[in-house]
Structures are given as C-alpha cells and as structure tokens.
Amino acid sequence: MKQPVSSSEIEIVVDDPTAPEPGSPAVTDTRTAEALVSVLLLGLALLLGYDNWRTGIGWDSTGPQAGYFPFYLSVILGGASLYGLATGLLARREIPETFVTRAQLRRVMAVFVPTLLFCLATQFLGLYVASFLLIAGFMRWVGRIALWKSLLTALVFTAAMFVTFDIAFDVIMPKGPLEAAFGY
C-alpha cells in the first residue's frame, strides 16, 4: 500500500532578518570566561564560608550548629573553583575556543537589555503595561515586523494574560498607574 505523502505537504519558510553574521570576531574565549567564573565562585565561597563561620560551625548539645552544613559546602565550592582555576591556567595553550562572537553578543544583548528594561518597567508601570511595551517593541525593532502586527500581537497577548491570570485564575500581578486609572 503506497500513500501519496507529498500531496498534503505545506512548505514552511521562516526568515531571520537580524541573524548574527558568521565569521564575526570573538569577544572572549571560553578559557577566560571559565577563569572569570571560577574567581567569582571562589569569592562567593569565601563570603558565604565566612558568614557561616560567624553563624557557628561547631557542634552543640543538639548536634551540628546552623552554619555547619553550609560552611563545609562553601569549602567544597571553593575547592572545586580553585581546582577549575588552576587546571585552566596550567593547561597547555591550545587554540582558544570562542565563548561568544561580537555579532552573537549583540543579539544576546538585544534580548537581555529589553528584558532588563521590562523588569524595571514592571516595577513602576505594572506588569501588563511593561509586557505590552516589551512585545511590541521587540517585534518591531528586533524582528522588523510591521508596526500594526506588533501592536496587535502585544495587545492580544497582554489582554489574554490579564484575563487568564488576574481574572480567571486569581493570580494577582503587579499593577501600575494605568490599571489604577481603570479601577483595578
């Protein structure tokens, strides 16, 4: 039995107008990034270790004190980071592996910065206004999508979220001046 499969096929083509171009120079290599992360983790381990030592890492009548467990975990974390740092620095110089290229970083920032602004806006304008601005802005400037489509999508999505969470499921989101004007 043979089925004509191709008859019902739909072609799907999606374009990416702001894709990062290949062959962009590297911003940093993985080894540098690893070393940096190791140093940061080591710092964190020292900080938390000190705080737990202050809390008390000994044993009293009831068993280990509150700082005992996390103190030794800080020691383990510090040790592992130090090991990572040392092996990274002592390793033979090989061809560095790219951590992120400049074009990639630009794209990542194109998501990260709007997300950061979105969080700020949520704090002051409420989540729904912030979400409308994020979706419309992102679609328009990063996706190069027509303005009316961007605005409409943002409006529909935000409204759907409002109905789903604040009205249907009673999950209350942060609100700002706009919602206050409507009496919410």
Binding site: I10, D16, V111, Q123, R144
Partner: protein, 505 residues
C-alpha cells in the same frame, strides 16, 4: 493485584470533565512548547507552573505532567521535519528521521516517532505502577540516616557518573546546596547567609531559580543562533499509520531493548539524552546492516524515541517513591508538589492515594490521548514554527516573569530570575551542568535536615551512616560512585600491568 485496583481507582479520580479538559490543554501547551525552539520540557513546565497554583493538587499535576508528555511528543516534530532537535534528547531522532522526511517519508517517520514514544512511556508507566508502591512501602521504614544516605547516593552518582568535568558538577551541586540553605534555618531558627537583607529571608525559591536558569537563559542562547528555517509540514493519513503499525512487531527487539535502557537510565540520573543515544547506537550495532542507519531507516527513529520517552517517564519513579527526582523536569514537578502543600516521599502513597494514583492513571491516559492528538494535528503544530522567534521570545520572557512573580508575590523574585538567567547562560556556555544544581536546590533542605536529625539521634556519631546493613551499603555505594572514575582508572591500570605478565607465563 492491589496496584491494579488502585489504578482503577486512579482512573475514577481522573474521569471528570474538568480533569480531562485540563489534560487536553496541558497536552496542547506541551506540544507547543516542544515544537518551539528555545523551549523544552523543563522550561515549559516551569513557566506554566503558576497556572496551576490555584488548582487542587490532582488537577495541577495532571495538567503539568500532560505538558511534559506533550513536550516529549513535540520534540520529535521539529527533528524530523526541519532537522532541528527541539530537545537535546531528540538529536538522535534527526539521524534517520530527517533523511526519511527528505525522501518524502515524513509521515511514516513521524508516525514511527510518536508510536515508539508511546511504547517507551507505556513500558515505563507499567514499571512505575508495579514498582513504585513496593519501593515506597519499603522506604517507609527509612529513618533520617537512610534518607540522608539516599540523598548522598543521588548527589554522588551525579558526580561519579556524569559526563561533564567532575569539578564542574561539584561546583554546580555545592552551589545549589548552598543557595538552598539561604534564609531561616529550619532546625535552630537562626538566619543564614542573608546579610541583613529582608528579601533573602524567605530564601531562594527553587522555582524562581529554575525559571531563570532554564527559561531566560534558553532565550539568550537561542538568540545566538541563526533562526531561519525551511522545511515541509506533512500531514499523516490513517493509511500511513496502519502501515507503520503493521510493521511494528518486526522491530520488537529494538523496542524492548530501548525501553529497558530508557527505564534504567531514567531511574538513575543518566537522563533521556544519554538514553536516546545509547538506544540508537545499540540498535545500530545489533543490526544486520548497520551501514543503512543514518540514511532513513525507520528503526533509527524507533530506537532513540522509545529510549528517550521511557527514560523521561521512568525519571518520575524515584520522585514518586522516594521524593528524589530522576531528571530536571521531575525536579520541577517535585517543586510543584511542595507548592501545593504535599510532602514528596514514600508517605505520599499512604496519605495521598487519590493524588498518586490519579497521576499514574493520567500517565496512561495522557499518553494515549497525546498519541492521537499528535497524529491528527501535526500540520497545525508544524506551522507554529512560522511564527517568528522575535514574537515568541518576548512572550516567553513575559510568561517567565509572571511565573516568577506569582510564586511568592515578590518583585525581588523577578530580579532574581533575571540574575539566574545570566548565570544559566554563562554556565551552559562553559559546560557547568545545570541538572545537579536544580536537584541540589530542591533537595538541599531535606538533605540537610536528614543529616542533622541523624546527627541529633546519634549524638554526633558519624558511624550512624554505617549502623545497619541497609544504610551502610547505601552510604558505601554512594562513596564508591563518587570515586568511581578514580577506581575505574585504577582497575584499568592494574589490568594493564598484569596482562604482559600473563602473556609471558
């Protein structure tokens, strides 16, 4: 046979219109999440979790696990049609699935993928049905030392058996355990690592961390790639389905082998990714003509899909029976249990029979309904990919923020989520695994409590972890696994030293 009766009871719990509707919604959302690039099982479950906060636990878990099944099914669609694995465990499916699609056999490949997913899950669910009650009733006898030993075993096996560099796994795990300890200490009431901040008093919520680590970081990672794609969306006709199903018995060895691999790797923290590759490689090795693999052989779709799904499902077994998740997604479901006020662990089978058996019954039903759903709606879901990522990405960000905020109604958590997003992005780029972090964060407090309770019980005597045969063997096994790479190397070098001698004699 007691399990069978309880299972029927579970079906009875499930058979309300509300639960069935939630199951459908969950499956559709799940397939959606599985198809979209930059979202997967754990992300989807984490982001959609807040939807369930106001539901009763049974409805909530049915919906969440349906999202999970849906995501597992959805991953196969993009792998076969576009050569883009929606999930890491679908990578092996592209090897033969995409060539089949290029030969115009996309419908066949999709049917094979969905059917074998269904078979893999079914085997794992059967295992859960009959094994989980036994393990949990055994575990009811556990005291704090035994529980600590089991937690230790989980952590150690991640370090010893994981494929990442050991120190990176250790970093990830100790960081997770440390962050779990932030806030009020449950035993003494003292504050730890809060540095005077009232926001940190509540501690770092597990789900907030997960939403950042998996949701936000995945968006950042996805944006690095070129997101253009081209492919065909095939619809599946009944004739193709019947044709594939008629041939199914021929491949029973492959299906059985992959199911068993999947179940084993799902229970131990090996995961679905390892299972899918192992299933594929073994099918290739045992095949009569291995060179035909990779050129569009249907067995090459059966093998990885069965294993991945068996593993994804079996990961729920230790979560239900012992309160220890076998995968990242299982860890998130476990976090959900705690939000709904259930205490994961062996007592679940005694105290919340309706919940547990409702969940197990929903695994059966969800897979059957999911299979029918994907077989009939593939073209719709494939065309979801037409929606440009620039529209999807901000919506995911908003959903993540809603999820993070809703957990504790705290704006601080939204910022925390953003921070975890950056951490997750950097960790993934430099190869620090996130699964041990997730596991440590969700189990941290319970592991510490178990340790301290055993210490209090034993008066600070560490030998309590070897005080009887059971706890002793678990602890010893844990330590053996921790040093397994070293032990393994020692064995190999010993063997190498002895072999020349044997030759001479």
């Amino acid at each position: 046979m007691e399990a069978f009766g309880l299972l029927l009871h579970g079906f009875a719990v499930l058979m309300t219109w509300k639960t069935l509707a939630l199951m459908m919604v969950g499956l559709v959302l799940g397939i959606f999440v599985g198809v979209l690039p930059g979202l997967g099982g754990p992300n989807g479950v984490a982001i959609l979790l807040p939807l369930t906060f106001t539901m009763d636990p049974t409805s909530a878990i049915v919906m969440l696990s349906s999202i999970y099944w849906g995501a597992l099914f959805g991953g196969a669609i993009t792998s076969i049609l576009f050569n883009i694995p929606g999930e890491a465990w679908s990578v092996a499916t592209t090897f033969d699935g995409y060539p089949m699609a290029q030969q115009g056999r996309a419908a066949e490949a999709l049917t094979a993928a969905f059917t074998s997913s269904f078979i893999g899950s079914l085997v794992a669910v059967l295992l859960i049905t009959f094994l989980a009650p036994l393990i949990s009733s055994f575990a009811l006898k556990f005291g704090p030392p035994e529980f600590f030993a089991v937690y230790l075993l989980t952590f150690c096996s991640f370090v010893g058996l994981g494929r990442e560099s050991k120190h990176k796994t250790v970093i990830s795990m100790s960081l997770g355990l440390l962050l779990a300890g932030i806030g009020m200490d449950t035993v003494s009431g003292q504050l730890r690592m809060t540095f005077g901040s009232s926001e940190l008093l509540r501690g770092i919520n597990f789900l907030v961390a997960v939403i950042g680590l998996f949701g936000i970081s995945e968006i950042l990672l996805t944006m690095e790639e070129r997101l253009a794609l081209r492919g065909h969306a095939a619809s599946i006709s009944l004739g193709v389905v019947l044709k594939v199903w008629k041939d199914l018995p021929k491949y029973w060895v492959t299906l059985l082998r992959s199911s068993l691999i999947g179940c084993w790797l799902g229970i131990t923290p090996g995961g679905a990714i390892a299972a899918s590759f192992m299933g594929y490689n073994l099918a290739k090795r045992f095949s009569k003509n291995p060179e035909s693999f990779g050129k569009g052989r249907i067995e090459g779709v059966f093998a990885p899909e069965t294993a991945a799904h068996a593993s994804g499902t079996a990961a729920l077994l230790p979560m239900l029976a012992l309160g220890i998740p076998g995968s990242g997604t299982a860890a998130i479901l476990l976090g959900g249990l705690m939000v709904w006020g259930l205490n994961p662990g062996p007592l679940l089978f005694v105290e919340h029979k309706d919940f547990v058996w409702g969940l197990i019954a929903s695994m059966y039903l969800g897979n059957v309904v999911g299979l029918v759903l994907v077989l009939t709606t593939v073209p719709i879901f494939a065309s979801v990919l037409r929606v440009p990522f620039a529209a999807v990405a901000p919506m995911i960000v908003v959903s993540c923020a809603i999820g993070a905020y809703a957990i504790q109604n705290a704006m601080f958590d939204v910022w925390l989520m953003l921070g975890f997003g950056v951490v997750g992005y950097v960790f993934k780029k430099i190869g620090i695994p996130l699964a041990p972090f997730t596991l440590a964060l969700v189990l941290g407090n319970r592991a510490e409590d178990a340790f301290r309770l055993s210490m209090i019980g034993a008066g600070g005597d560490m030998t309590v972890f070897w005080s009887n045969g059971l706890v002793g063997s678990i602890t010893t096994l844990a330590i053996t696994l921790l040093f397994w790479p070293v032990i393994d190397r020692a064995f190999v070098s010993l063997a190498r030293r002895w072999r020349p001698v044997e030759f001479r004699s």
